[in-house]
């Protein structure tokens, strides 16, 4: 046993330290500071040679250090290269860099509109295949411009787009008019033959009214620009931001969303809407799909009230709930209409119907696109107000007047 252990130890040492083999058994050592961390990567169809791919990266340079330079801001460098493939363009970028680019940290993949309109799989296959990138990388379509121009115009020393996108990533759940899609989600969508690939879109916006004290503001900032809808791997159009909340509500991607509605007295009220449940029910007539009913149950919190009446009674609250439901329903119906206009199932109905009735789905899957164009989609929304946040009456509240109004409202509600 002792000899065996000794032999194993010797073999291990030989295997790990041997310089004879061209391929070392153990992985190669790389110091972390030999890498440039690439957090944001943009991909475009090359403007000069449309058959080529243009890759743009932002690399950090000359970062602080522990000594005299500790705490200094790092410099950013925007680099781009073109090649027939993404991997070729990345290799070209590495050729001219003093440090190796590490794509393991790429959190955001920005795809220019021209690339999305060409054939998105051509530009994203590298990210679905190569081991260095992560499947959790967020994907965005850059609306109206190229990813290169987007990065160039939205980056400054004081405004790093990766940080801003990171913050956007965290706050998007509270906004409601956009969403988050990772590479793995995109792969799943691209693999679904009957559904569209829907990716969140960003656009640049002017920063005339914004300034950074002590730093240089970039030329432009960015803002959500709804969703880009890809049909057969090509950009078909967009869900405008005003349809995006409806799209999120229809597809179960709405976590919370702010909504402005009028209270029973006609004053503006700000509510936070949350999706409690979403149910899709296909209605079949034998093997024929007659219609689809989407039922959404929402809960809402009243965050702001401009009126001075006490609305926290059954009747006014019920009326406010109806108003919220009607608003959300309207947005959802507009999203359905927009999906029909785009001519592709961008609401992920196919997959949900297939999951509910896999046998019946087999009989309709061949002509789903035509069926979707004419399929009646009924939307039902129910809302329940959970919290008013503040139990006291609003400023300027008049009890007698409120009692009279409540009585009237109750009579009106009871019919």
């Amino acid at each position: 046993m002792r000899k065996l252990r000794f032999a194993v130890a010797i073999l291990l040492v030989c295997a790990t330290l041997s310089g004879c083999s061209g391929e070392p058994l153990l992985p190669m050592m790389n110091e972390i500071d030999d890498f440039d961390i690439i957090q944001v990567l943009g991909i475009d169809r090359s403007a000069e040679s449309p058959d080529e791919v243009e890759v743009t990266i932002i690399a950090g340079k000359g970062a602080g250090g522990g000594g005299e330079s500790a705490g200094t801001e790092r410099m950013l460098e925007i680099e781009s290269a073109t090649a027939p493939t993404v991997i070729g363009a990345l290799s070209n970028l590495n050729l001219y860099s003093d440090r190796r680019h590490h794509l393991g940290y790429t959190d955001f993949l920005l795809i220019g509109e021209s690339a999305a309109a060409d054939d998105i799989s051509k530009y994203t296959d590298y990210f679905t295949r190569y081991h260095e990138t992560r499947y959790s990388t967020r994907v965005f379509i850059i609306r109206g411009t190229s990813a290169h121009d987007f990065l160039k115009s939205t980056v400054s020393d004081a405004h790093f787009v990766a940080d801003a996108l990171g913050n956007f990533d965290e706050t998007v759940r509270r906004v409601g008019n956009t969403g988050i899609v990772s590479v793995i989600d995109m792969i799943n969508m691209l693999d679904a033959p009957d559904s569209a690939t829907v990716l969140p879109a960003l656009k640049t916006r002017d920063v005339d009214d914004t300034m950074i004290i002590g730093g240089e503001m970039p030329e432009k900032d960015f803002a959500p620009a709804g969703y880009a809808v890809l049909r057969d791997f090509k950009l078909a159009g967009y869900f405008e931001p005003e349809y995006s909340l409806g799209y999120n509500a229809l597809t179960g991607k709405m976590h919370t969303a702010p909504l402005n509605v009028k209270d029973p007295d006609g004053f503006m009220t700000g509510v936070i809407v949350m999706s409690d449940s979403l149910n899709l029910t296909p209605v079949w007539d034998g093997d024929k799909l007659k219609s689809v009913t989407i039922e959404s149950v929402l809960s809402a919190n009243v965050g702001e009230q401009h009126g001075r009446n006490d609305i926290y009674h059954d009747a006014p609250l019920a009326e406010l709930c109806d108003t919220i439901s009607a608003d959300v329903k309207s947005r959802m119906e507009k999203a359905v209409e927009r999906a029909r206009e785009l001519g592709v199932d961008s609401l992920d109905l196919a997959e949900r119907i297939r999951t509910k009735n896999p046998v019946k789905w087999k009989r309709i899957e061949g002509n789903w696109r035509e069926l979707f164009a004419q399929l009646p989609i009924n939307v039902k929304v129910t809302t329940c107000i959970r919290r008013p946040y503040d139990l006291r009456e609003p400023n300027g509240f008049k009890p007698q007047q409120a009692a009279d109004k409540a009585k009237t409202a109750k009579e009106k509600h009871n019919g």
Binding site: L26, I32, G60, G66
Partner: protein, 492 residues
Amino acid sequence: MQNTSTATVPITSDAVRARLTDCGDAVFCDVALTAAFGGKLTAAFIDGMVSSQIVNDFILKPLSEKRVFAQAFNERELLDLAMNGEVYHGQRKMCGDLETAMEQLLSGALVLIFDGEQAAIAYDSKGYEKRSVSEPTNENVLKGSKESFGEAMRVNTSLVRRRIQTDALKMRTITLGRRTHTSITLVYLDGVANPDTVTRVEERLGSLDVDGIVSTGQIELQLQETRRTIFPLVLYTERVDKFCGNILEGRIGIITDGLPVAYITPNDLHSFLQAPEDYSHNKIISTALRILRYFCSFASLILPAFYVSITTFHQEMIPTKLAVSIIASKQGVPFPTYMEVLLMLLAFEVLLEAGTRLPQSIGQAVSIVGALVVGQAAITANMLSPGVVIVIAAAGITGFVIPSQDFSNTVRLCRIALVLLSTLGGLFMTSIGLIFLLYHMCTLDNFGTPYLSPFVASEGRQMFNDTIVRRSWLMLDERPENIRPADKKRKG
């Protein structure tokens, strides 16, 4: 050889004087008797090892003043009188040969030599200076006893006896060391401790053939059945309450004359991660502290190697913001990460060693200078990156949570080995190192107790019986099975 030859030598004052030639502390005192036959006795003792009050008042005084001694007709009669209670001393022993007489004399007895009869009586009159019972210095507790063992063995045994007042508490004394004749006492609870283990421990100690027992390492090594390991197998303590607690569990204690620590065996890994206060706190708090200790031990072992691995081989594992921060802090540092880590570990060990050896006041200064030089100046001069300093400091501090210094030393050595492995192949080689450590620990066994029991080799029994989870006193109804106690049931 010495024993054989001296056994035949008659006990006379001349023989004893001859053996103690050039021994300035040996005192020979002729006791003139008023007996009719005009005999003379010789009292011999070692100055400083006997109590002068006992010698004068209870031994010499009655010999000189009592009438019965004056009326004796011969030395034989004197010997009988002295042996049968006319001298006011309870602990007396007739020495049949010169060697026995010499042993008694050198261990602090007054030996009364009857030249005519070629016999001697040894009166135990130990009275040497010894340190009083003091507070533990290395195992302090907030709640609990403040008594610790001292150097005098009989004081130590009395401290144990005072806590466990039962005739089942056995104390077998053996003498070791050809030259030092050091007394060692095996303490165990009869009917509770495994008799086979007691015999094995006694045999192992008995087989120790050295000139003298002067350090703890000699006893410790003899109590290890497996010697090719850096893991401690024998637990030592200076706390009497901890010692007694282990005796009550069925373990065997070893008290050595001249050493202010006692040994406990057999042990498992968990014994080295227990603190004396575990049984003083609320069970939930104790459990949380034990979990913390296990976590910290592992963290102390793995942190430097893990840092080297993830910064040089598996960079993708680091969250983006942390990676950016590490890269920024490493700018301009000339050494590769593994070299930084090894240098820092070396510096840490040097500081630790310097702080241990120096007097307390200077030791603190060394710590401050070390922290400033290593921590601040090295970073400012871009010699080291702050990340490395933080990791090594974290590894060091978590290592201090380990209650056993022996186990802590093992962890310190192993973490350097793991760092070396991690430089070869990152987490892959680190994992191989950890697997080897685990394998090695699985092979360890001392007096029939597997080192990793009850987590392994117990088929899951008692896995949570006072191990990581400290159960309530009321629920502690079984002694640890891995030490194979004679009586498995206990109460509290």
